[in-house]
């Protein structure tokens, strides 16, 4: 289980600085409607504002370091991304970490921290534009209500923001796992209304596959950093572990499946709830119907006897309709299950490849 972590909120200063700073960038960007100051994405434009995310190597290293040093087990580490928007590309040039939430410093002011950090960074000429936030994840479980809310508040304030999900365990297995997500315009609309009832969701035609959209990532380095990389390569020892090709990864698979099973259990509970709800509604309908019929009969009898008919009673007071179960949660669960399944499929594909390689080696040996 995750410890509840702070909701990431873009600071007011971030929004203010966007208003003054990026006027020119906004006019050149084709898809944002209106000046950057407004920040409200007009979902009607259909295609999203960001087609690609370009990350500096420095940001990748910083995120890795942050998790390595401060994250343990299932806790997530979070931080803020800084950068700028160039046409339909989001460039992330720097980032800074957020302290973990601990119970003892409840008076820790996040907004204060953010503002101070950004102000200080501005002095050393680091881009001080908020463009998103990052979070680490445990075996790929990041589709939660908290994430949704945070990303919504970010995207609401700054249209092009993304959330970077860094999976340290998968990275430790051999290849960097960093993904950028945004909320789809449809989901943004629904969140804006703050109405998560089934009707609204049905109207928005949202399925779990269309909650988050993934944005492709590229990594870019400046020339000087490339020189640095050459230097490092010469000086440091060759890595002696090639984790990527290790065959002993059933542990990882087991963990993934475990989490998947938990989610599926939750899902089935949800479905049971929904079924009960449906049954209750239909039963109620029947009862209402019967009541009405009895009423009518009585009224007819009374009429035949010459008595005044009984007053029409408010049916809705007698039969309170049952509460429809919250649909948002089941959407989130479905989304999460989907992510797990994707991860598992990727994983098995890799492992199959490795097994075939091992087979080839063995054949050669014989």
């Amino acid at each position: 289980t995750h410890r509840p972590h702070a909701q990431m909120i873009p600071s007011a200063e971030a929004m203010a600085s966007r208003k003054e700073g990026t006027g020119s960038a906004a006019t050149s960007s084709s898809s944002t409607t209106g000046p950057a100051g407004k920040g409200k994405g007009k979902g009607g434009s259909g295609d999203s504002a960001v087609k690609q995310v370009q990350i500096d190597g420095l940001v990748v290293l910083k995120i890795i370091k942050h998790y390595q040093e401060e994250g343990q087990g299932t806790e997530v580490v979070q931080g803020v991304l800084l950068g700028l928007v160039v046409e339909d590309r989001l460039e992330i040039t720097n980032c800074f970490p957020f302290p973990q939430h601990t119970e003892d410093d409840a008076d820790f002011d996040e907004v204060q921290y953010q503002m101070e950090m950004m102000r200080s960074l501005r002095h050393v000429n680091i881009d001080h534009l908020h463009v998103g936030w990052y979070q680490s994840t445990y075996y790929g479980s990041f589709v939660t209500r908290a994430l949704l809310d945070s990303q919504f508040s970010y995207q609401h304030a700054i249209e092009e923001s993304v959330v970077l999900i860094y999976d340290p365990i998968k990275t430790a297995q051999g290849s960097l796992s960093l993904k950028a997500y945004r909320l789809t315009p449809k989901l943004m609309e629904v969140c804006k209304e703050k109405d998560f009832s089934p009707e609204a969701l049905k109207k928005g035609n949202i399925t779990f596959e269309h909650m988050f959209e993934e944005v492709p990532i590229v990594i870019k380095n400046s020339h000087l950093i490339n020189v640095l990389m050459w230097e490092l390569e010469k000086k440091s020892a060759v890595a002696d572990k090639h984790e990527l090709l290790s065959l002993a990864s059933s542990n990882h698979l087991g963990k993934n499946l475990q989490l998947l099973m938990d989610r599926v259990d939750e899902m089935s509970q949800d479905i049971v709830k929904y079924n009960t709800y449906m049954r209750n509604t239909s039963k109620q309908q029947q009862q209402k119907h019967q009541y009405q019929q009895r009423r009518q009969q009585e009224n007819m009898q009374r009429q035949s006897r010459g008595e005044p008919p009984l007053p029409e009673e408010d049916l809705s007071k007698l039969f309170k309709p049952p509460q429809p179960p919250a649909r948002m949660d089941s959407l989130l669960i479905a989304g999460q299950i989907n992510t797990y399944c994707q991860n598992i499929k990727e994983f098995t594909a890799q492992n199959l490849g490795k097994l075939f390689m091992a087979q080839a080696l063995q054949e050669y040996n014989n």
């Binding site: 190597g57 420095l58 990748v60 290293l61 910083k62 890795i64 370091k65 390595q68 040093e69 401060e70 957020f98 921290y113 950090m117 002095h123 050393v124 000429n125 680091i126 340290p168 990275t171 430790a172 051999g174 290849s175 960097l176 399925t207 779990f208 596959e209 492709p216 590229v218 990594i219 380095n221 400046s222 000087l224 950093i225 490339n226 640095l228 990389m229 490092l232 440091s236 890595a239 572990k241 090639h242 990527l244 090709l245 479905i271 479905a334 797990y340 399944c341 598992i344 499929k345 990727e346 994983f347 098995t348 594909a349 492992n351 490849g353 097994l355 091992a358 087979q359 063995q362 014989n366």
Partner: protein
């Protein structure tokens, strides 16, 4: 007092250069004889004024270093840098230690008011005329790549006209080595004669960083550029108030010698004990430390060196396996090449390498083919089953979605 400073102004500007010439040209003994003439006693009197003055406004600057020395002599009164001595470095075994240690009393990291004025001789780490202390052997600096990338990035973002950038290094210390894990740049102004460092900013940033990683301490500072200048000495002095025995890291972004050399120094005392002391920067061994994930990250980032516009995308699952196997293939071909060379006599055989090769070939386990077949098949079956289940689950939830929305 103020008048005295004014008088010294024009004198002071020349001094550093004069001193350099002196120290480079003369062996230290005659030098100390010369310096004897200087009236050192007056110095401590002015120190209480200089000491507590926070480095925040490095001030009326130029003369900060030599100014407090009210001596009219041509060379300022050098004094021991308080920091390096008290630190646990096995370092300067020169008896300068004893004198300086006494002077610094018991406050390792701070400029105790009792030490003579913090005027330092900007001596280079040349084992020439000065008395070099023995290198602090066993002191290794372990750097993480994120630091270097951060330094290069702040260099690229420096203000117009600034030749170099400086910043603070954070990290942890243990018995034998110092591990630098984080850094941030500090705005500073540097010109011919003066240097101003915004220490207030540095303190603030450190506090903010502490909130995220409470274990990190200030270890020292870094500067870009290939040389240690006089101003470095001053800045080092400021930092020695923050941390005992600060480390100075230089990253040569101007690419002298066609390489970006990365060096670390610690300042040590030199000079004649009891008399005039100077400061020298002695080099430390620099090693690179990586976490596993960092290693993987760096490997990936390094690929931008090969792409034309320095951009790479993240690869998908099977591509990664392909990439890793390609790497192993390369390694194998190198080994094969070596074996061929040895066989054809081009390279002499080396037994240790031979043993490694032997163990490499034996790594592939010898399993009875049938057993291997069974193992392989069962593994493949497991994986296929899991894939099937995953697909089934996905279609199930899609179906559920459709039903609910009816």
């Amino acid at each position: 007092m103020a008048n005295k400073h004014k008088d010294l102004d024009h004198v002071v500007h020349i001094q550093p250069i004069v001193l350099l010439i002196f120290f480079n040209a003369l062996p230290s003994m005659p030098g100390s004889f010369f310096l004897d003439k200087m009236a050192t006693p007056a110095a401590p009197a002015s120190t209480p004024a200089a000491g507590p003055a926070p480095a925040a406004a490095p001030s009326a600057a130029p003369a900060t270093a030599p100014a407090p020395a009210p001596t009219p002599a041509s060379a300022p009164a050098p004094s021991p840098a308080p920091a390096p001595v008290a630190a646990p470095t096995p370092a300067p075994a020169s008896s300068s230690d004893a004198a300086a240690a006494a002077a610094t009393t018991a406050a390792p990291g701070q400029t105790p008011a009792s030490t003579p004025a913090p005027a330092q001789t900007p001596a280079q780490s040349l084992p020439g005329p000065a008395l070099p202390g023995p290198f602090p052997g066993g002191r290794v600096v372990r750097l993480h790549p994120v630091i270097l990338a951060s330094i290069v990035d702040s260099y690229e973002r420096r203000n117009e006209g600034a030749a170099r950038v400086i910043g603070t290094l954070l990290g942890t210390v243990d018995k034998h080595s110092v591990e630098v894990t984080n850094c941030f740049s500090v705005p500073h102004n540097e010109s011919e004669d003066e240097v101003a460092v915004d220490m207030e900013f540095a303190k603030n940033m450190y506090e903010l960083h502490k909130k995220v990683s409470p274990n990190e301490l200030i270890l020292g500072w870094y500067a870009t550029g290939h040389d240690i200048t006089e101003h470095s000495v001053l800045i080092h002095e400021y930092y020695s108030r923050e941390a005992p025995n600060p480390i100075h890291l230089t990253v040569d972004t101007s690419l002298q010698n066609g390489r970006m050399s990365i060096k670390a120094y610690v300042s040590t005392l030199m000079g004649v004990p009891g008399r005039t002391m100077g400061v020298m920067f002695t080099p430390l061994t620099v090693k690179y430390a990586y976490y596993d994930t960092e290693r993987i990250g760096v490997d990936l980032i390094m690929k931008t060196c090969f792409s034309p516009n320095r951009v790479i995308g993240l690869s998908s699952d099977l591509q990664q396996v392909g990439g890793a196997s390609a790497r192993i293939q390369d390694a194998l071909s190198t080994v094969l090449q070596y074996a061929e060379d040895v066989l054809s006599g081009k390279v002499s055989a080396d037994n240790t390498v031979g043993r490694f090769l032997m163990s490499l070939v034996n790594q592939v386990p010898k399993i009875v083919p049938d057993d291997f077949e069974t193992m392989l098949n069962s593994n493949i079956n497991d994986l296929l089953m899991v894939t099937y289940l995953a697909n089934l689950t996905q279609s199930q939830i899609a179906l559920n979605e459709k039903l609910v929305n009816l």
